[in-house]
């Protein structure tokens, strides 16, 4: 078999490329679970002050401590709060430039990404994007590396730093068990103004568009979470630019796992194809050298120059 060096290179590169592209292609075919649920928060409806019923309902549902929760204490809005192991959701206040006397309140929690960065960063697959939509955490396999917390573009997962023996990563579960029971998530259930709507994500996007179309003065022409980081299950409508109410506008529409997918899918190829390929190159060049040397050169000369040399002298 007379395979030229150039041809071999071409072939092997093509094979390698084929391997990579076919893997990536296989991922893109899956557009997410078709009937997955989502939540739509209409920040123009949230009243925030004296309410925070969602925070209370969330704590009760997730059996978190209600200690220190005083719903009529509006001083909590004086600074921006983040989710913590005891509060899977928090309502923050933002200044309203158009109407300073009526500030904007925004409820924040895990966004339940279509392609969650936390799941992709996890070494032990402790995070699962369920067919119902919520991204769930499995404490039984978690090793506590907290890569998920670093990976999350919204900085939502939190860690039981004060639990020395069985710390868990904690975040909103979108009330997965309530959804399975046929109920709606606790926060959406309790919200007096029904500022949080639960439904199929596809329906919610239509609803959000309808709302924008119907009241273009009230809403920004943007559904936050529709495209961000490849789409999230939790969607937001706002009456002001999303950057004014604490939403990053630089996250892009590429799912975060996509950034590492090329590299990660290449790892098996590098580990399996490359050794074979490089050995092949080596053998090929050896054979060629042998051919070029012609019949007058003895194989022993070749061996003396090569690494087999040592073998012979032993």
């Amino acid at each position: 078999m007379s395979l030229k060096r150039r041809d071999f290179l071409k072939l092997s590169t093509a094979a390698a490329c084929l391997g990579v592209t076919s893997t990536a292609h296989g991922m893109e075919d899956f557009k997410g679970w078709p009937d997955r649920y989502g939540m739509l928060t209409d920040t123009t409806l949230c009243i925030g002050a004296n309410c925070r019923r969602c925070e209370e309902a969330c704590k009760k549902t997730n059996k978190r401590s209600l200690e220190g929760l005083n719903l009529s204490d509006n001083s909590v809005f004086d600074h921006q709060r983040r989710t913590d192991p005891n509060s899977y959701t928090v309502v923050n206040r933002f200044a309203n430039r158009e109407d300073p006397e009526n500030p904007i309140y925004v409820k924040k929690q895990c966004m339940h990404c279509n392609e969650p960065a936390c799941a992709s960063a996890c070494l032990v697959r402790a995070f699962t994007k369920t067919p119902e939509g919520p991204v769930l955490y499995n404490k039984d396999v978690c090793i506590g590396c907290r890569y998920c917390m670093l990976a999350c573009p919204f900085r939502m997962p939190t860690y039981d730093y004060f639990d020395a023996f069985s710390p868990e990563v904690r975040k909103c579960t979108m009330c997965h068990d309530r959804i399975i029971e046929g109920k709606i998530p606790a926060c959406a259930d309790v919200c007096p103004k029904e500022a949080i709507t639960f439904g199929k994500r596809s329906d919610l996007i239509l609803l959000a568009r309808e709302k924008i179309r119907h009241d273009p003065d009230r809403y920004q022409q943007h559904i936050y979470g529709e495209e961000e980081v490849g789409g999230t299950s939790w969607l937001y409508l706002a009456g002001t630019d999303f950057t004014n109410i604490g939403f990053a506008n630089n996250l892009g529409s590429t799912p975060y796992p996509e950034f590492t997918r090329g590299f990660l899918s290449a790892v098996p190829i590098v580990l399996t194809v490359w050794p074979v390929m490089l050995t092949g190159f080596w053998k090929f060049s050896k054979a060629r050298e042998r051919q070029e040397a012609g019949p007058e050169t003895d194989t022993t000369v070749d061996d003396e120059k090569g690494w087999g040399d040592g073998y012979r002298h032993e």
Binding site: E101, I184, D189, K193, F198, K200, D203, H214
Partner: protein
């Protein structure tokens, strides 16, 4: 021949024109919609709505709604909202009051955003408790519908979102202790109103044209609530920017308000030739209030009736329970010595006339007075 042909052609053309003229007119008329009816697109989003698929607007809020053709006075008065009363006491929603308010603005359709012809459905006709389910997510549930309607305006208006504004607390659910008087303007929901200290009017009454009304004083002295005088005023009386619903009160109406309390008084009580001074207890009540009494509300001493009646000067009117044992004499500034402390009150204060100077002559016949021979020693009077 040619001329005949020309004439014939012209007459045929004229005939055609006359025949088809009304048709042009008709076809033009058909394209103009009936001005008395709102355009279909106000409610229906598709070209041809059918009974099975009326394709109604999700939340029809624009255009002429049938509700605009009616007056708020035709609506119900107080309506009790108790569908969701598991957590809260029923809400007494004063429909009439709110209807009067919307008269200033966009009319009934502010709340009745969807009113099919001939019908003014209450919220719970369309919005049901079950509609929080995913299949009807385009329509808020009853809880959401109520709160969106109420809190949108209330928040904008009073910047307050306390539940207590509408909900009375039920047992076991703390709605944060807010003052409760849903019957007065300033009770629970209205922001503080700055009232004038006094108002001075010049009237056509010649014997006493100047009427001085000490507004703040009436509130303080008589503990009047806004609605005690501002009886038949609705929100638009103050808030109507177009001034269409705030007609001037007639003389009879104005006098009727004052006559609630001043029916027996003479005209000169209010009318005078010059501005009347404010009430001073020393002048009108004949004695200046001391440090203890000045802190009391008027009703503490004058508890009965709208009219404040004069009390006689007997301290025992109010302080009947004091005797030699339980009265700490030092609060008056005089600490009695041991001998005098043993005496009965009436031994010095003859006939329990405590406002009169004490009399020493019962025991001492040297004509002494407490000033030159005090029955103890003077101390600093208690401030409280």
């Amino acid at each position: 021949m040619n001329r005949n042909l020309g004439n014939w052609c012209i007459s045929v053309l004229l005939l055609l024109l006359i025949t088809y003229m009304p048709c042009f007119g008709q076809s033009q008329d058909r394209s103009v919609p009936d001005a008395t009816q709102p355009p279909c697109s106000d409610c229906h989003v598709c070209e041809t709505p059918t009974k099975s698929n009326p394709c109604l607007e999700m939340c029809a809020r624009t255009g002429a709604m049938p509700a605009d053709l009616h007056k708020p006075s035709e609506g119900p008065g107080v309506r009790v909202i108790d569908e969701l009363s598991d957590l809260y006491a029923p809400v007494d929603f004063n429909h009439k009051l709110h209807a009067e308010m919307v008269e200033m603005g966009e009319g009934c359709s502010v709340c009745h955003h969807y009113s099919p012809p001939g019908k003014f459905p209450p919220c719970n006709d369309c919005h049901t408790d079950e509609s929080t389910e995913p299949q009807t997510l385009r329509k808020p549930g009853l809880k959401g519908a109520y709160h969106r309607q109420c809190m949108g305006c209330h928040r904008e208006w009073s910047h307050d979102t306390k539940c207590i504004i509408c909900h009375l607390p039920t047992n076991g659910y703390d709605l944060s202790g807010a003052p409760l008087d849903s019957t007065d303007i300033l009770g629970i929901s209205h922001p503080v109103i700055t009232v004038p200290d006094k108002k001075v009017w010049t009237t056509p009454y010649q014997a006493g044209p100047v009427v001085t009304f000490h507004h703040q004083e009436h509130i303080d002295l008589f503990e009047l609530r806004c609605v005690d005088c501002h009886k038949h005023e609705n929100c638009s009386y103050c808030h109507d920017l177009r001034k269409e619903y705030s007609p001037r009160k007639t003389d009879e109406e104005i006098h009727a308000i004052c006559n609630d309390c001043h029916a027996q008084d003479e005209c000169g009580k209010c009318h005078g030739t010059k501005e009347k001074p404010a009430f001073v207890h020393a002048a009108d009540g004949s004695w200046a209030l001391n440090r203890f009494h000045a802190e009391l509300s008027c009703r503490a001493c004058h508890p009965t009736g709208k009219k404040i009646s004069k009390l006689d000067h007997q301290c025992t009117n109010c302080h009947g329970g004091w005797n030699q044992k339980n009265f700490r004499h030092a609060v008056t500034g005089l600490q009695l010595d041991e001998i005098h402390a043993e005496l009965e009150c009436s031994d010095c204060h003859v006939d329990s006339a405590f406002d009169a100077p004490p009399d020493c002559s019962g025991c001492h016949d040297d004509g002494r007075s407490p000033k030159d021979a005090p029955p103890g020693h003077y101390v600093q009077a208690a401030s409280k």
